[in-house]
């Protein structure tokens, strides 16, 4: 796999992360379901997952960038599995509505595991790490992916600020603190 192919794959990864974060926001506003602290931490972990691919696109693929993504996916999986465990008892309705039969945190756990497997597979291809004297130009497709991810992450930050204000986020939030005047 060449560095260019790896960069395109990293851009696809960023589009996937943006889609997951966007869907979280859409469900939040469509169904008026506010994310709990653990739900927010999973969104943070998705944003964390995006830093490695951005570095790969900007500075060229490096094992250390993939290592950052692996650590991010591990943290995200830890948070998601914790929340799955909280609602695993039979009869527990879970937190929020289900999407295609699974709650957001169950999807998150699966996606983080999938990300770990995918990063492991991409790391198998050594040729992408061959250094060239001139860094490859960033394709527009990849640059757009980077800015989309940054914008979606900023939207999540703004939504979280509205929900939690300048205090600890409620365990079971029912309103946007800043919109209701504290």
């Amino acid at each position: 796999m060449s560095a260019r192919t790896a960069i395109l794959l990293n851009a696809l990864g960023l589009y996937a992360i943006s889609l997951v974060l966007l869907l979280g926001l859409v469900f939040q506003f469509l169904w008026h379901e506010l994310p709990c602290p653990l739900c927010l931490l999973q969104r943070v972990a998705f944003v964390t997952l995006a830093v490695g691919p951005i570095l790969n696109i900007r500075h060229g693929p490096r094992p250390s960038h993939y290592a950052m993504s692996l650590l991010a996916a591990l943290v995200g999986m830890m948070v998601a599995v914790r929340q799955v465990m909280l609602h695993i008892l039979p009869g527990n309705p879970g937190y929020g509505s289900a999407v295609a039969g699974l709650h957001y945190y169950s999807w998150a756990a699966l996606i983080f595991v999938f990300a770990i497997v995918l990063i492991g597979l991409v790391l198998l291809f050594d040729r992408q790490f061959d250094r060239t004297p001139v860094a490859p130009a960033v394709p527009t497709f990849a640059a757009l992916a980077v800015w989309l991810t940054i914008i979606v992450a900023a939207a999540n930050a703004a939504s979280t600020l509205l929900e939690c204000g300048f205090t600890w986020c409620a365990e079971d939030p029912i309103r946007y603190i800043l919109l209701d005047g504290g």
């Binding site: 709990c36 602290p37 653990l38 927010l40 931490l41 969104r43 943070v44 972990a45 944003v47 964390t48 995006a50 830093v51 951005i54 570095l55 900007r58 500075h59 250390s64 950052m68 650590l71 991010a72 943290v75 830890m78 948070v79 914790r82 909280l86 309705p93 937190y95 980077v146 991810t149 940054i150 992450a153 900023a154 999540n156 930050a157 979280t160 600020l161 939690c164 204000g165 300048f166 205090t167 600890w168 986020c169 365990e171 079971d172 029912i174």
Partner: protein, 52 residues
């Protein structure tokens, strides 16, 4: 508030990764990741009291 801070820290890390030097992005990423784990442990040790 804690998650808002984490979002902004990772936003800074992403902007540094795209516009700034690699070491700055890596340092921001590392610091924010440690804080994320610390925040997780804070929430993991408190009961999730649901209203339904």
């Amino acid at each position: 508030m804690d998650q808002t801070v984490l979002f902004f820290l990772f936003l800074l890390a992403m902007l540094a990764a795209w516009l700034g030097p690699r070491p700055l992005a890596a340092a921001l990423f590392g610091a924010a990741l440690v804080l994320t784990v610390a925040d997780f442990f804070h929430h993991a040790t408190s009961a999730l009291t649901l209203s339904f």
